[in-house]
């Protein structure tokens, strides 16, 4: 049951992720990206990490993708404004070769890799629950956690600085 669910979710994730790249319309791409985030949240739930699943949906699907959609909807108002992309044959061939090379490298790297098996005796299935996650974050990894929050603060201040009106600047 769980295994079937995993294969279903995994194929859905991959399919939607592919559609993000393939879609001609950028708004459709964004919508497929949102579905991708949802199916990734489904994977988190399968791994018994409910908190991560909920936060993934709130932060990515609920906040970041809305802003993406915002910008892209404004960009894509009329069909004529976006010039048709013309890719030359040369760049197509170059892209195919580069992609193929990457694929070969990945196969070479993953060929001998072994997946660390699950040790059923020592594995704590409750590790993804919010209480345990909070304990680990605020006890064992407190410094990185706080440093990350400083990083976010700096990013926020920077965004406000960039968006601020200069004195004498006119909007509309």
């Amino acid at each position: 049951m769980t295994e079937n669910l995993f294969y279903f979710l995994a194929s859905l994730t991959l399919l939607c992720a592919l559609m993000v790249v393939i879609s001609k319309n950028p708004v459709h791409s964004v919508l497929f990206l949102i579905i991708t985030f949802f199916s990734i949240s489904g994977h988190y739930i399968l791994l018994n990490a409910q908190f991560l699943a909920a936060v993934n949906i709130i932060v990515y699907a609920g906040a970041i993708m809305v802003l993406f959609l915002f910008v892209i909807m404004f960009l894509n108002q009329s069909k004529g404004s976006m010039p048709e992309m013309k890719t030359s044959t040369l760049s197509k061939i170059a892209g195919t070769i580069a992609g193929g090379m990457l694929f070969v490298v990945m196969i070479a790297a993953l060929k001998d890799a072994s997946v660390a098996g699950l040790d059923a005796d020592s594995y704590n299935s409750q590790i993804g629950m919010v209480e345990n996650l909070g304990l680990i974050l605020f006890r064992d990894y407190l410094l990185p956690f706080e440093l990350a929050s400083v990083l976010f603060l700096v990013a926020m201040v920077g965004a406000v600085m960039l968006g601020k009106k200069e004195t004498g600047e006119q909007h509309f």
């Binding site: 919508l31 949102i34 909920a54 949906i57 906040a63 809305v66 959609l69």
Partner: protein, 351 residues
């Protein structure tokens, strides 16, 4: 899970779904009746006794109207938009505890569809998805005014989500749990969160008004001074679904407010009632059923409050709305978090 439990859960989810739809349907009727009362009119009184069949007549009218899809619209998304709005609206009542447990034949039946230990986050996540219904609908209409209306609605929703989340944090600091059932249990008797979180509740209430697009925050559909908004191109039942989703959201927002701040199914003197009945199982069931009634009474009060405000206050201007959200509510919510933290530390220090 046993099959009995599964069947029970299935029935319970269907019942909650039905009750949600029923309450949303009759909210439209009571909205018009209350508006009529406040404006000294009669209100709907033709369809059925006291006009009680009016919602059915409205629904029938909407279903039989021409289902119009604009020629240059993105058809699939145009149809999906109202669907998403409805789906998201009906999803969020799943984690709300409408009552404590009933004991029937040795089975403990909890009156809650799913118990997850992240209930509050689930509600918050689902609420944050509500924006997509509006945005997709507005964009797919291929109409500048719809798009602008969608942007207007979405920016309002995501602005007020922030203050809402921050005011929730103070409640979570008090309760120490993300599970709605546990938060409800902690407010046993008359020990409601509103006594500890008056400021947080006011912030949450204002944000709930903004999230459900109700007056004084109903700019997404302020057709009088701006333009219809994201549903300008919609008609027939698709428009009906958007409006219906709004009423479901009001119900859910009322239920969440009752659960978080007004003690959910708890009521004063519930222990006295429990000890007054000698048989413990019967006592438990009676207390639970009274609790469910109390819960719905609280929900109905909040729904009434939503309507009362709608017919009392005029709506904000858009810059006032943004200023209120970003410059007043968010700092207030942060202040509330700090006050709550200080209060908790002070209590630990003194006692």
């Amino acid at each position: 899970m046993e099959s009995v439990d599964l069947i029970y859960k299935g029935i319970y989810i269907l019942a909650i779904f039905g009750i949600t739809l029923l309450i949303a349907t009759y909210s439209t009727y009571f909205e018009r009746k209350i508006a009529a009362f406040i404006q000294d009119r009669v209100g709907p009184n033709r369809a059925g006794p006291l006009g009680l069949l009016q919602p059915l007549a409205d629904a029938g009218k909407l279903f039989f109207k021409e289902d119009f899809i604009p020629a240059k619209s993105s058809k699939a998304l145009f149809i999906i938009g109202p669907g998403i709005a409805m789906l998201v609206a009906t999803m969020s009542s799943a984690v709300i505890p409408f009552g404590d447990k009933l004991i029937i034949g040795g089975h403990e039946l909890f009156l809650q569809a799913i118990e997850v230990n992240i209930g509050v986050l689930y509600v918050f996540g689902v609420v944050s998805l509500g924006v997509y219904g509006l945005m997709i609908g507005g964009w797919a209409s291929n109409n500048k005014f719809s798009l602008l209306g969608a942007i207007r609605a979405a920016s309002q929703n995501i602005s007020y989500e922030l203050a809402m989340g921050l005011s929730l944090i103070a409640v979570l600091m008090l309760s120490g749990s993300l599970s709605l059932r546990e938060i409800a249990e902690q407010q046993h008797g008359f020990n409601w969160n509103i006594w500890y979180q008056p400021l947080g509740f006011i912030i949450f209430l204002v944000c709930a008004f903004a999230e459900t697009n109700r007056t004084p925050f109903d700019l997404p559909e302020s057709e009088a001074e701006l333009i219809g908004g994201y549903h300008t191109e919609y008609g027939s039942m698709k428009l009906g679904m958007y409006l219906f989703a709004e009423y479901i959201n009001i119900f859910v927002a009322s239920a969440v407010m009752a659960t978080l701040y007004f003690g959910a199914y708890n009521f004063p003197f519930m222990e006295d009632l429990r000890s007054a009945i000698s048989d413990p199982i019967l006592a438990n069931n009676v207390v639970t059923l009274v609790g469910v009634a109390v819960m719905f009474a609280k929900i109905f009060f909040f729904i009434f409050f939503f309507m009362w405000v709608r017919w009392t206050l005029p709506r904000f201007r858009y810059d006032q709305l943004m200023k209120l959200g970003w410059q007043i509510l968010i700092p207030l919510a942060i202040l509330n978090i700090m006050l709550t933290g200080g209060g908790i530390l002070l209590k630990e220090y003194l006692f």
